[in-house]
Structures are given as C-alpha cells and as structure tokens.
C-alpha cells in the first residue's frame, strides 16, 4: 500500500512526498534519527490531519526518509524517542520482507514524545473529527479516528497524545493476556487504554508489513495502533493515486504493519471488515469436509477478465492493457524479493491488439529529424522522457542517457519544463504510437502482402467439400485482401504430385504444370507462379472457380506434403509472405513423410510420451526455421478425421508466428461456416509483415524467456514473419542486479513491421511500473489474467518435454508455492486457522489453475482427447491473447430459455441474458436451455424437462430427433429469430474465431459428456478433481510447511 503523503505544514511549505522506500533501505543505517524526526512529523500531520500541526523541518531536505533505520535494525535506544518503547522490529521469520525499516512502527510511540517537546511547535492534536469507523469507542487514541480514509470513524474519546506517555509501556503487556489472539486479529487499538496516544499509521503505510511475531519477547509492548484487520480491500488497497509518478517516490512504507494481532475485534463488524483485509479469506475446513464449505462462495470469474486498472489512472500515459499486461504492476526491488514471489514475473504482449473505435494508435512521421531514439539503449522517444537544458536535450527514461534533441524536433519548454508543443506530439503523451520508419529500417524494399496457398487436393479434400469451401472463400475475399494493388497471390496443389499454376495476366485460363519428381523438387517457371492479384485477377478467379471441379473425381489418396512445402518455399523465398496450407491427410510421400504414431497406447504414461507431441521429423523444424528466415509465415488448416500429426504440422506454424486451425472430420455442411469465417478472417485481417519485435526494459532487469508462436532471432528479438491482432506473446523477466535503485521500471515494446500498404512502421508501446520493496504489494498488484496466460504457456511447453501429469503438477505446485508465501506473509500476524488466504487480486488463480489442468492440451489421459486435438489446442493457446484465453479456460454458460420466453424482442436486455453461471452441473436446471460459449464452440444444452414448445420453436419439426443430426437453423418464428440474433451477437463479440454451434440434450450419452459435461470444470469428471477438492488439495499443500 503506497500513499503519497503530501503535507502542508502551517508554515506553508510543501513537504516533499516521502521518498521511495528503496532509498530508505539503502542509506538507512547511517542516520536513523534525523530521519525519524521528520518522518514522524510528517506522518503525524498526515495521520491526524491537523492542519495546524507544525512540522519540524526535515533535517535532510532532500529526502525526509533518507535515514530510516535499516531493515531489521532496531533503532538505538539512545534517543528520547525510543526510551522504553522498543519498536516492534520485524521478527526474523523467513516470511518477513527483507527490507522493512521499522520506522513506521516506531512512529506511533514516538510521536507523542515529539509533540511534547516544547518549542517544537507541535500542538496537541484536537480530537479528531468524527470519522472513526471503529465501533468500539472505548479506546482513546485520537489518531485512531484520524485515519483519513476511514469511512466513518466515530469520535474517539481518548485524551490527546501528550498525556498518554505513561500508558506507553504498560498497555501492551497488560493487554495481551486479556485478549489473547481473539478471533480474527484485526483489531485495532480496541484494547489500548486511552493512554495510548499515537496516531495510527497513515494509510499509506498500511500495506506491507512484515508480520510481527506476537510472541517476540522484547517487543511485545507497544500497542500498535495500526489495524491488522483493516479492510484494505475497500479502503487501502492499491489506490492508484498512491504512486506519485512525478516524484517517483512511494510513500509506501514497509514498516507499517507492525501491529499487534492480539487485540480482539470489538465487534463483528470490524471482523467482517477485517476479513477483507488480508484480501479475502476463504473459510474451508479440510478436516470436516462439507460443513464448512460453501461452494457458492468460492470465487469465480463470472464477470470475465478484470483488467488491472489500479495504475491506469496513476500512469495515464501507459499503453493500454490490451497491448501489454504485466503479471504484477509492482516490480520487486531485489532478487531476494523476486525469489519470494513465486508467481511468474513477466508480461503478456499483444502488439497489434484491436483497438475500439476512436482509440486507434496514432501514426507519427518524424520526417527529416529521423526517429528520436536514445543513442545508447535505442529506446524510442516516449511520454516518460524528460526534456532538459531548455529543450535542447532529453533524458532517456530507460538508461538515463542525456541525448541531443535534433534541430527539427526542438521545442521550447514552458515554465514547468513541459514542451510547448506537447499537445501536437502524440509520442509524448500517448503510451502507444506508430512511427513511420525511414529507409534505415529496411533491409530491402517493403514487401507487398503475399498470400500463397498450398492445397491438398487428394481424395478426402474433394470428398469432404473442403476444396469447394476454401476456393469459394478465397474468391470472395479477393476484394478484401489487404494491400491492394500490391497484393500478390499464388497457388500450388498437390496429391502424389505437385501442380503449379501459371497465372500470368495475359492468359485467360491458368496453366497447370505437374511435377512428379518428388525427390528433386524444381520450380517449373521462374515467375508467374506468384502474381500480382490486381493484374491477374481474372486468371485467379478462373482458377478458383475450376479448382473444385478439377479434382472432383480425384481418387489419389497420397499426400506429398513435404515436397509441396519445399516447392512453395522456393517460390516464396524471394519475398516472403503468408503461406496457407490446407492439409487433409497424413503427409505420406517424399521428404517429411510422417508415420501413424499417435495410435500406440503403450507410449502413454511413459517417459517417451512427450515425443508424440513434438515434431517427429527434423524436416519440419528446419523448414520452419528456413521459412522464418525468409519472412514466410505459415498457417496450417487441417481437416482430417484421422490422425494427421498436428504436432509435426503445427511446428511449422509455431516457429513462423502462424497458427493452426483444426477441423477434425471436416464436412462442408457442418464445418463450412466455421472454415469460411475463419479463413476469411485470416485473409482479411490487418497483418503486419516481415516484422521483428523487441521489448526493452530498464537497467537491472532483463527479459529472459519468451513463450508463444515465434522464433527467436537473437537473445531478445522475436522474428514474426506475419503477425496480426490475434497473436499474443508472453515473456518472463529476471532481475540481473541484486538491488534495483530506480523507483520505477519502464518497458517498451517495439514492433518493426511492414504494413500492408507498404509502409515500414514501428509500433511502440511504453509502460511504467513502480518498483516496490514489499511482497504484499506485489501480490496486491498481481494480474491474474496475465499470470494465467504465462502459466498456460509454461504448462503447454512442459507437455512438450514431459508427461501430462508432470505439467499439471507443475501448475499446482506453482500456485501452492505462491499461496504459501502469501500465507507466511500473514500467518504470523493473523490467526488464519484453517482458512485458505489469498490476495484479492489472485482470487481466481486457483480456479484458473484447475482450468488449465483441465484444458484440452493438458487434460486427463490419452482417452480424453485425441492427440491431434491436444496439439492443435496447444498451438492455439500458445498464441491467444489474455482475454480469449481466459474465456477458453473458464467459458461462459448462461441460461436463455426465460429470456426467449419474454416478450421483449430486443436485444437491449442482452446484459441480463448473458449472466454467467458457475461451470457446475448443479447450476443447470433440467427445465432450462443453456448456452455454453468458450469462444471456439457454442453448445446449446437442452434440459430434459425443457418445455417442448421452446424446442419445437427453435428446432422446427425435428425437435424430437437425435440432436447430433440436427443443425440449428433459423425458423419462422420470433423465438428462433431471437436466439439466432443472440448467437450472432455472441459471435460478433469475438471475431477471431467462429464458434460452431452444437446442440445437445441432457442425458444424451455419450455426446453430452463429450461436448459439454467435460467442460464443466468445477465438476468431478472421470479422474479429474472438482473445484472443491482442488481447493482443498491446494490448501492442504499450502499448510504443509506453512
């Protein structure tokens, strides 16, 4: 918890906001006293809110906190302040944060003394305004009531501080026995006799603290006025304003939660509030199963993904969280702190995320001045750079280098040091900008958008109707391909031979050339295989029209995939582009032929299991690498109902920044729409070509590992031949220096790419995050969505080198470790009993962890999902942006029958309909109709006792038939239309995939289990655990060695 303390002393001068904590810890030991004076003064004023309180001028003007006692160092008892009161220094428990100057803890006792010193100008505080929320008014600390942020504190009746000195020593001793660890230790000063005068700590100091060991013998004493049970959720938790960006100083004070847990809460209201403080505690009693468990109270992300916004207002110039999401918005200041943060430390970046209307990324042309970048670290100019020397120089925010401002870019500064032209310069006000790159950023002329199609035309392709659908869709998209008139297009088809097509614009019909030598591939024509679409439009259309007919009666079942890929590579490698592969069967001829290896059940459960999930033949990796090198991005569309070794095929996509679309058992009547939509999306969405991405960050930290579909070109450069808005990349960072000395850390994502229009551009996203010294703060600022995203990728990567079981265990252990650390953080100070505690920010983490373990790539054993499905889902999830991933992990289920029956035909009340339900069968009413939506599939679940009218209205005449044969079509009645509108709306919400609609009736086995019940992740299915058991398991593990 960090708070900016900006206090006006009566003399009118402004005290500097308290300096960053790091600095405290660094220079602390040298001069403990002066600092504590000023600190006290400030804090007193702040806490008690006495406007007329005279602040003692800070001895060290620069940083009032500069000499806080070092962590764990007890202040010498020489000074008057400390006589008799030994501040409760941190217990030396392992859980205590390393840096925790007990200043805050001292403050309370000392302040009365300070105020007694004559001549200090400190007046006894008048009774605070009635603002004390503590119901018990028996205690007197005026400070207790002065808590500024307290909702409604009643007027305290205690005497003013000066009189209370006497009480200082004794109260704690006498109190403790009286109320030994009352139920939730929240309590504030309830037990403190009025004699205790010290003000409660400023809210800003609230957070953090190293839990005080109540049994610490020497310390026991001072009644601490801080509130362990203070409902930080409501009041204290991470108000963004607590990080003053301009000063970079966080008033956060780790020393402050040194409070005594031992004071019982006076009333139950306090208790209730207190429960919230440790960020939500879940009562569940492992020993006695059901009684203590209330399933309904378990946290569930029914509101979808909640983006962390605590810093959005704080740092308004940060890029939007849709582009960059850190796993925690508070960066640890030291390696030791980072090692205690067991969650991943990193970010999820979606550089081209779709911006809503009106929030498009501004495009900037620096013109003749060239792009303004730091000379040393190559950072792009961004809102956080500072201009000095009357505008002639600018200081890089990442490496602090002083750079010259080019003459063309010069602007005068106004009185506050702002550039005069700030408003005309989006790069200085916006976190996300797009810069037009001059020729220095090109190694060759910007490439045109290129779409190359590699289509399997063997027997099954024609039979399933795939050819027909694909050809139609491509044809319908020709107008919308980005980059007109430079767009180029080309085709190769293959079965046991390769067919090239000459599409020269002067021809009226394409010429087909067949190459049957698969061992020594050659390209029959040097040009004209890849043609400019606008010139050869007629030929292309003629080809697409005739394609399905040409191979209608093809009985060839072989697939020379490898040679075809090589041929495509040879055609494309001059320019690069996007290669779309339509594969219908297992590659069976030539290089890269694959074996039917997925059938062997003996391999499962052994150490060799993972080999099934990685590319079998090195050919695929080598091809992928070569393609990346020549800027070819590969998207794989696979259609077979049999094993096609997606693991190998998908490798091509994985390392070229593409994606895998998998339509098992493709039938054009069923999957046609899905393919049509997704292929159209793939072809028409805005794509960034031949791009590379790098993320830079401040000194002392480094991004060490990257996860997603791409290839690393150097240690920190992601090569992305074709990237679009549906791709996200995760990365983890490590601290390279033992201690970070800066108050903030900056991140800058730069994506250099060629836009479809032929412009070379750089998209730059800049964000800043504060550095904290306190573990609790890191937890508080954690972002579950981003953490889950990283975990998912780690788990999927783990399945490529180990057993599924291991991957699931890894996830569980990671969550357990994190929660255990959090528990340790609080267990000393609070009586946790058998509660599972977790920070508010991570309340969904256990559930998402369960969801990861039950997701398609990781779930169950070999029987639960086919190998191909697993691999396809794995490749997809590796590239999903956070929101879509979370939706896939914890899908929406909502009830629609009541809404359908309601007369209002509008979709206005869509919000009411889309009320998400927990994913457990017990929430499904057999009289209802439910829609399940995970972004990839829609399942309409008809309850057994659903009124036949509804079914009839929706399904028409065959409503009683087996639903596997029924497809949902719009019927001529209002209800059906309404439902179709709803489905359309749901699909429009997320355009990146086209959820196919499945119908299933309750009790229809095994379809129901396969399509629907298995995805109710809170239930126990087969060998998997239910949500309750999962929580209990985690809790048990957390308590071990806790």
């Amino acid at each position: 918890m960090i708070l900016q303390l900006r206090v006006k002393s009566s003399s009118g001068h402004d005290l500097k906001p308290i300096a960053a904590v790091e600095s405290v810890s660094c220079c602390a030991s040298s001069r403990p006293f002066p600092l504590s004076h000023s600190l006290r003064a400030i804090v007193n004023m702040e806490n008690q809110g006495y406007p007329n309180f005279q602040a003692r001028p800070p001895p060290s003007s620069s940083s009032p906190f500069a000499s806080a006692p070092p962590p764990g160092v007890r202040p010498q008892s020489g000074g008057p302040e400390t006589v008799g009161f030994r501040p409760p220094t941190r217990p030396f428990t392992p859980s205590a944060p390393p840096v925790a100057p007990p200043v805050g803890a001292m403050r309370p006792f000392q302040s009365p003394l300070v105020s007694q010193i004559p001549g200090q100008g400190i007046r006894p505080p008048p009774p605070p305004p009635s603002s004390n929320s503590f119901p018990s008014t028996t205690y007197g600390p005026p400070g207790g009531g002065s808590f500024q942020r307290f909702p409604t504190p009643p007027p305290p009746s205690g005497p003013p501080p000066p009189q209370t000195l006497a009480g200082h020593l004794s109260p704690p001793m006498s109190l403790r026995p009286q109320q030994p660890m009352g139920p939730p230790p929240q309590s504030m000063t309830s037990g403190v006799p009025g004699g205790y005068a010290s003000p409660p700590p400023a809210p800003g100091f609230q957070q953090s603290m190293p839990p005080v060991n109540p049994s610490y013998p020497g310390v026991g004493g001072p009644p601490q006025p801080s509130f362990p049970g203070y409902p930080s959720n409501q009041v204290l938790q991470g108000p963004p304003s607590s990080y003053p960006p301009q000063t970079g100083g966080f008033a956060q004070h780790p020393g402050q939660q040194n409070m005594h847990p031992s004071y019982a809460p006076p009333t139950s209201t306090v208790q209730a509030l207190a429960e919230d403080f440790n960020s939500l505690s879940l009562t569940n009693i492992p020993g006695s199963l059901e009684p203590g468990l209330d399933r309904a109270s378990f946290p569930r992300p029914l509101d979808g993904d909640v983006e962390p916004n605590s810093f959005a207002e704080m740092y308004p110039m940060n890029c939007h969280s849709r582009y960059l999401r850190l796993t925690t918005s508070a960066i640890p200041s030291s390696q030791s702190l980072a090692s205690r943060w067991h969650l991943p430390l990193g970010a999820v970046v979606c550089p081209l995320a779709e911006a809503p209307e009106g929030e498009e990324v501004p495009l900037i042309d620096f013109g003749s001045s060239g792009i303004i970048r730091c000379r040393r670290c190559r950072t792009y100019v961004n809102p956080y750079v500072t201009f000095t020397d009357s505008g002639r120089k600018w200081r890089c925010n990442i490496c602090s280098m002083l750079n010259d401002v080019p003459g063309e870019y010069f602007s005068h500064l106004d009185a506050t040091g702002r550039r005069m032209d700030m408003d005309q310069r989006p790069e200085l006000t916006k976190g996300s900008v797009e810069i037009i790159a001059p020729t220095e950023y090109m190694v060759r002329p910007p490439m045109p958008p290129i779409y190359f199609f590699l289509i399997d035309v063997s027997f099954s392709a024609a039979k399933s109707g795939m050819l027909q659908v694909a050809a139609q869709t491509i044809k319908s998209c020709l107008d919308n391909l980005p980059g007109y008139p430079r767009t180029q297009i080309g085709f190769i088809t293959y079965d046991s031979t390769l067919h090239f097509y000459n599409m020269k614009s002067s021809l009226s019909q394409p010429q087909m050339m067949v190459v049957s030598d698969l061992d020594d591939i050659f390209v029959p024509l040097p040009d004209d295989l890849l043609v400019n679409l606008s010139e050869s439009r007629n030929v292309v259309e003629a080809f697409l029209d005739s394609l399905p007919l040409m191979f209608q009666n093809n009985v060839n079942v072989e697939s020379a995939f490898g040679p075809a890929l090589k041929a495509a590579y040879m055609v494309m490698n001059q320019l690069g582009g996007k290669l779309l592969i339509f594969q219908n069967s297992l590659p069976s001829l030539g290089a890269g032929r694959l074996k039917l290896r997925g059938e062997d059940p003996r391999v499962y459960g052994t150490d060799k299991e993972y080999t099934l999930r990685v590319a079998e033949d090195n050919f695929y990796k080598q091809m992928a690498a070569d393609c990346t090198k020549f800027q070819i991005g590969i998207n794989v569309y696979a259609f077979s109902d049999k094993y096609t070794d997606i693991a190998s095929l998908g490798t091509l996509s994985k390392y070229t920044g593409g994606q895998v679309y998998y339509y098992p058992g493709f039938q054009s009547s069923i999957h046609g729409d899905k393919l049509r939509h997704e292929l159209a999306r793939d072809l028409t969405r805005e794509t960034a070509w031949e791009s590379v991405m790098r993320i830079r960050c401040g000194k002392g930290i480094r991004f060490s590992s990257y996860h997603g579909n791409f290839m690393l070109r150097s240690t920190d450069l992601l090569a992305l031949p074709a990237v679009d808005c549906d791709k996200a990349y995760a990365m983890q960072l490590t601290l390279e220096e033992t201690l970070l000395t800066t108050p903030t850390v900056y991140f800058q994502v730069a994506l250099l790419y060629t836009a479809s229009c032929g412009e070379r551009r750089i998209r730059v996203h800049t964000a800043v995050a504060p550095v904290v010294t306190d573990l609790g703060e890191m937890y508080r600022q954690a972002d579950t969505g981003s953490i889950v995203s990283v975990y998912t990728r780690l788990a999927i990567e783990k399945t490529l080198s180990g057993k599924l079981d291991d991957a699931r265990n890894v996830i569980q252990q990671k969550i357990v470790k994190a929660l255990r650390e959090y528990r340790n953080l609080h267990s000393v100070q609070h009586r946790l009993g058998s509660r599972l505690i977790y920070p508010e920010s991570l309340k969904f983490l256990p559930l998402y962890g369960l969801a990861i373990c039950k997701s398609t790539p990781l779930q169950g054993g070999p029987a639960d999902a086919s190998l191909d499905e697993r691999c396809a889902a794995g490749f997809t999830m590796m590239s999903l942006p956070v929101k879509k991933l979370l939706k896939l992990l914890y899908p929406n289920v909502f009830r629609v029958d009541e809404w359908l029956l309601k007369p209002s035909a509008d979709l206005d009340d869509l919000k009411d309909v889309l009320k998400r339900l927990p994913l457990a069968a017990e929430n499904l009413d057999s009289r209802g109709l439910y829609i399940y939506d995970d972004g990839f599939r829609l399942v309409l679940w008809f309850g057994r006792m659903l009124s036949p009218d509804i079914a009839k209205n929706l399904l028409g005449a065959d409503f009683a038939a087996e639903l596997s044969r029924v497809t949902l079509q719009e019927q001529e009645n209002g209800m059906s239309k309404k439902l179709m509108r709803l489905i359309k709306k749901v699909r429009e919400n997320d355009q990146s995939y086209h959820p196919m609609c499945f119908l299933v009736r309750q009790g229809e086995q095994p379809r129901e289990g396969f399509l629907f019940l298995r995805y109710l992740i809170e239930d126990q299915m087969g060998g998997s655990t239910s949500y309750v058991d999962w929580i209990l398991q985690i809790h048990r593990h957390v308590q071990q060695n806790a």
């Binding site: 990796k621 080598q622 992928a624 690498a625 490798t651 994985k654 690393l712 240690t715």
Partner: protein
C-alpha cells in the same frame, strides 16, 4: 617403432582437429549470444561440424583400442559413449528453432569437451615426443642423454 610414431602423429592431428572444431563451435555460440550471428547461420555452421567430430573422435577411440593403448582408450571412451547416446536419441544437432533455450547447456557441454580434448591433446603430444625421441635416437644416444 615406425608404426608407433605414425600412430601418434595421426592422433596428434586428429586431436588437434577435435580441439579446433569444438573451439570453433564455442566461438559460434558465443557470437550467437552476442548477436553477431543469427541462429540459422550458427546452427548450420555447428551442425556441419558435429558428425565429422563424432566420427573422428570415435575412430580415435577405436584406434587406441586396436593399438592396445589402454589408458588412452579409456580416456576417450566416455566421450564416445556420450556421443553415441546423443546420436541415438537424435539430439546431437543443434535445434535451430530453439537454439536460445538450450544455449547455456550447449555452451557448457562444449567447454567441457574442449577441456577434455585439450587434455587428450596434451597426452598425445607427450607420447608423440616420447616416441619421436625413441625412434630418432639410437639406443646408445638415448643412453647418452642420460
């Protein structure tokens, strides 16, 4: 006597080649880390050398065996076994797509091998000198030396 000298001269060149090859691989990896080389180039350069290295090393090992140089054979044997294992598991080549993930391991492995080869090289040089001295000097001369 002449055969013995020939054996050591051969071993000398083979182990020198091994040292050079591994040294070159280490340099490639270091360059990759420093961003002087791209992964494509690095892996093709290194992978080109790996099989020759394995073969050379294995033949040296066998040569020691058939010439009945027990000590040398036993020194060379572990590396040969390790190479055979890598080859059998198809892990001997650098994976161009995941170079960076395994780079620290690969570097360590090569440093260890480099040390090992240098050790072997020194041993061979020692025996080479010895046998050269034996073969070029008459017994009398040899006695004379002492």
């Amino acid at each position: 006597m002449g055969w013995d000298l020939f054996l050591w001269i051969l071993s000398f060149f083979v182990s020198l080649a091994l040292v050079a090859s591994v040294f070159y691989q280490v340099i490639c990896l270091t360059d990759l880390e420093a961003d002087y080389l791209n992964p494509f180039e690095t892996s093709s350069r290194i992978n080109r050398l790996i099989l020759p290295e394995f073969i050379l090393q294995a033949s040296l090992c066998i040569l020691f065996l058939i010439t009945w140089h027990w000590v040398f054979f036993l020194v060379a044997l572990p590396v040969t076994c390790y190479h055979a294992m890598l080859y059998k598991e198809r892990r001997h080549l650098i994976d161009v797509t995941e170079v960076f993930r395994g780079i620290s391991f690969e570097k360590k492995l090569r440093f260890t091998k480099l040390g090992f080869y240098i050790f072997l090289f020194i041993m061979v040089v020692f025996r080479l000198t010895l046998s050269a001295v034996y073969s070029f000097t008459e017994d009398d001369d040899l006695l004379h030396l002492f």
